[in-house]
């Protein structure tokens, strides 16, 4: 059998990198550890593609096809995430009517409370950071929470006053 040494060495390298990745996940907190684990994943994938899938000795056209698959996947993830980064959407957030963000969990909590109280589902809902109390005819419900109150009006929910937990992130 020819060319056995390279895949065996690649296997050894893979196991060492895997060990480093697992150690980082346990020992290095937060984003740094996550970034290192992701980097290790890409290196391990590269080892498999190069030595187990024969891309090292493949012709150039085959390499182009292999890279094209990775390129399109990268486009999909990067373009999708660019939208979320651009709109500055953070943990558990939903779009506010003023283009900012607020807590999605809080949004759903209030929405469920309104629906339970009124007995009918809300068709559409916005949460905005009101700069002054909003008054509309036909307001049917009012909900209070520390620092903020909500009013439901024909399925449209508007907060009144300052809401410390709903600040732009």
């Amino acid at each position: 059998m020819k060319d056995v040494k390279a895949p065996v060495l690649a296997w050894g390298g893979y196991v060492v990198i895997l060990g480093a990745s697992v150690a980082a996940a346990k020992l290095v907190p937060g984003s740094l550890g996550h970034a290192f684990s992701l980097l290790c994943a890409f290196v391990m994938a590269a080892l498999i593609v190069t030595f187990f899938m024969g891309l090292r000795s493949a012709d150039n056209l085959l390499r182009v096809f292999a890279l094209a698959g990775i390129m399109w996947l990268t486009f999909m993830i990067v373009l999708t995430m660019a939208d979320y980064f651009y709109r500055d959407i953070k943990e558990g957030t939903a779009l506010r009517q003023d283009g900012g963000v607020t807590s999605h969990h809080e949004t759903m909590r209030v929405r469920h409370a309104v629906e339970a109280s009124s007995g009918s589902p809300i068709q559409d809902m916005f949460i905005g950071e009101a700069r002054q109390p909003l008054r509309h005819e036909g307001m049917v419900e009012e909900f209070e929470k520390p620092g903020c109150s909500y009013r439901a009006n024909a399925g449209i929910l508007l907060p009144v006053g300052e809401a410390p937990g709903l600040q732009r992130s």
Binding site: M1, D3, Y14, V22, A25, A41, A45, I48, F52
Partner: protein
């Protein structure tokens, strides 16, 4: 190490090809294109996971901490070892060594079975812990963000389930190759078949690397 001489080892291209080099290139190209479509299948799920991982970083990191990192790591080592034996089987077949080819293929299949058994054990453990929010099962999550954690576990079961299906299909193909190896009628053709299946098996390994990293490793540090 037994070398079984072949009675029909002279490689003849199929009629639509000029020579064996062209046929081999077509074989590989076809498989790589198929793998690119597979990449898009898993890529869609990974993209959705990335979006939610970004939206709920703390909840997803906490939920990942409920997975068994030791078993996940063991499975990762097992799968790359099976990929190594698959690569060795390809080389043994090209060297027309029947016994070694059989041994490497059997080892690859055996490791695949162990991988799926460990995965099944993990799923059963998560089921008993109430961490399987599928098929209407009750979700009993002990952490702070049960709604977001349920989303995490949905991704976890979709990804690992889809991967297990691919593993199972790959093992069926390996069993077919095992029968072909036992017959040993056309070793050059068998070598090409093992190479093509080896690409698929290695791809499944790559997918697992990213499943393991995204589901098990991106966790909150304890």
């Amino acid at each position: 190490m037994t070398t079984t001489p072949s009675t029909t080892s002279k490689a003849e291209p199929a009629e639509q090809f000029d020579d064996m080099t062209q046929q081999r290139h077509a074989d590989l190209m076809g498989m790589w294109i198929f793998l690119a479509t597979e990449l898009m299948l898993f890529g869609g799920v990974f993209t959705a996971f990335t979006v939610y991982r970004h939206a709920y970083p703390d909840a997803f990191a906490e939920a990942a901490g409920h997975l068994d990192l030791t078993l996940g790591t063991l499975n990762t080592v097992l799968l790359v070892t099976s990929s190594l034996f698959m690569a060795l089987a390809e080389r043994a077949a090209n060297a027309e060594q029947k016994r070694l080819t059989l041994m490497f293929l059997l080892t690859t299949i055996g490791i695949g079975v162990v991988f799926l058994a460990i995965k099944g054990y993990e799923w059963h453990h998560e089921y008993t812990e109430g961490l399987m929010p599928v098929l209407g099962l009750e979700f009993r999550y002990p952490g702070q963000h049960p709604e977001q954690a349920q989303m995490f576990f949905n991704f976890y079961y979709v990804l690992t389930g889809l991967h297990a299906v691919h593993m199972s299909l790959g093992m069926i193909m390996l069993l077919v190759l095992l029968v072909f190896t036992l017959r040993w009628r056309n070793p050059p053709k068998l070598g090409r078949q093992i190479q093509i299946n080896g690409l698929y098996w290695a791809f499944v390994d790559i997918v697992w690397v990213f499943i393991f990293t995204s589901q098990y490793l991106l966790r909150a540090s304890s």
